[in-house]
Symmetry: C3
Subunit: 183 residues, 3 copies
C-alpha cells in the first residue's frame, strides 16, 4: 500500500466516525410509535378518570376547565399507553405527569411527563418536556432522557391529537425518534 | 511521506476530532440573547396579564402572592419574547411554562418552560429547566433539548432580572449558550 | 513500520476513541451519593416544614394529603441535602422543586427538581426529572443537565426511600451516576 492511498482511506475513516465540528447528524437510532389516552375528571366520571385538574386561576374551580382557553389549569395524569389507537387495547405502560394550559387566546399546553413502559417488548422510562400548541397538527417536544431500555436516550417526539371527545377525552399519537442511543 | 510523520499527523487528527475520555470541551457552538416579559395577574390587570397564580399554599389566595417569600405559589405564563429589553418591541416568540416559588426564607423559584420562537431568524423551540435563586445577579439553568432550528441542542442559559415593577412585572435577560449543536 | 501494522494500529485507535454507530458505552464518569429530607406542612409544623401542598383535586384541601393515594396533590419543596442520612448533619445544599402524586390506585409521583449544591466539595446545580413509583425499592430518574461543577452533565439517579414517618417526613437516598461529563 502506498502512502497516499493509505492517507485517503484513513482520512475517510476518521471523518465518518467522529464529529470534528461538534455537529451531529440527524439519523434516528431507534423509533417508537405509541398512543395514550386521557380521561379528565369532570365531577361525574370518578371511576374512569385518569386525570384531574389540580390547579386553576382565581375564580375557577377544579371540575370545569377554565375560561379563556383553559388558561391556568394544571392537570395531573396517569394515562394508559397502547400500541394502537384503541382505548381498550392492553396497556403497555402508563404516561404519568402533568399538563398546564398556559395561553389566554388560543389552546396551548406545557407538558412534563414520563412514559413508564412495562411490557414484553419494552422495560424502562422515557422523559419528555415541551410546549404543545394543541391546534397545530403535529407538535415536536423533547425527549430529555430515559432509563432501562432507554438508558440515557435523547430524541424528539412528534405528538398528534388522534381523537378527542369534548372536554373529557383525548388521545395522543406519539412518534418518538431517538437520535442519541446508548448501549 | 515517511511512516513517523504519517503517524504523528494521524494521531493529531484522531485526538482532535473525538473525545477518548468521554469528556468534552466548553466551547459554544451557538449563542442567543433574548428577553422575556412577565405580567402577573393581580385581580385588576386581566387585559394585560400574561401569567397567573394557579397554585398556592393553604390560606393563600391566587390574586396576591403568598407570604414568606411567595413560598408555594405556582404561576403559569405565556410571555412575549423580544430581541431587546423593550416590552413594546415586536415579539419573536413566546416563553411558555411555569415558575414555582419554593423557599420560605429567601426568593427562589423552580422553572420549567419553553421558548417557542417564530420569526424570520428562528423557527423552533428551546426547553429549559432549573433552579432560579432570584436574588443572585446571574443564574444558570439547563437547556435540555430543542426542536426545529434547535433540533436536539443542549446548553446553559444564564438568566438575569433585567427589570421589575413591584409584584406585577419582571423582565428576564436570557443568554443562551449551546454547547451541543446538531445539523 | 510496515503498512499492515500501521493500519491495524490506527484502526484500533479510531475504533476505541469514537462512536461510529452513535451508540455509547455505560461507564460512569462521576458518581455522587446524597440524601435529602422532606418535611411536609400539615397545618401544625410551620416552623419545620420544608414542603407544602399547593395543588389538590376538587374537594381536597392543602393541609391533608388527598384520598386515593394522594392522587392530584402537588407539593413544592426546599429540602436540605446531606452527605449522610442524618437530618441534623450540616447541609451541603438544597433540593428544590416539586412532586406530583399522579396515580389513583398506588403511590407514584412525578418529579421535577434541582440539587443546588454549595459546599467546599461541590458548587453547581443538577437537574432531574422522572417518574417515581414510590413502592418500588430503587427507582431510576433522569439527570437532564447541570451547571457549575456539573456543567452539561447527564446521567441516571437511583432513588430509594431511606426512611419515612407517616405523612410528614421522608428521606431519599439519591445515587447519581453521570455518564456524560464535560470538562
Amino acid at each position: 500500500m502506498k502512502s497516499p492511498t493509505l492517507f485517503i482511506f484513513l482520512f475517510f475513516l476518521v471523518s465518518s466516525s467522529a464529529h470534528p465540528t461538534g455537529k451531529k447528524q440527524r439519523s434516528p437510532c431507534k423509533n417508537l410509535v405509541l398512543f395514550f389516552h386521557d380521561v379528565l375528571y369532570n365531577g361525574k366520571n370518578a371511576a374512569n378518570a385518569t386525570a384531574a385538574i389540580v390547579g386553576a386561576p382565581e375564580g375557577a374551580n377544579r371540575t370545569i376547565l377554565a375560561d379563556h382557553f383553559r388558561f391556568g389549569n394544571v392537570a395531573v395524569f396517569d394515562d394508559p399507553i397502547t400500541l394502537d389507537n384503541n382505548f381498550h387495547s392492553t396497556p403497555v405502560g402508563r404516561a404519568q405527569g402533568m399538563y398546564i394550559y398556559d395561553t389566554k387566546n388560543t389552546l396551548t399546553a406545557w407538558l412534563g411527563f414520563t412514559f413508564v413502559l412495562n411490557s414484553t417488548q419494552h422495560q424502562g422510562t422515557i422523559n419528555f418536556i415541551g410546549a404543545d400548541p394543541i391546534v397545530v397538527k403535529s407538535r415536536d417536544i423533547s425527549v430529555v432522557g430515559g432509563t432501562g431500555d432507554f438508558f440515557m436516550h435523547r430524541g424528539i417526539a412528534s405528538i398528534m391529537t388522534d381523537s378527542y371527545e369534548g372536554d373529557v377525552y383525548f388521545r395522543l399519537r406519539v412518534d418518538i425518534k431517538f437520535y442519541e442511543c446508548w448501549q
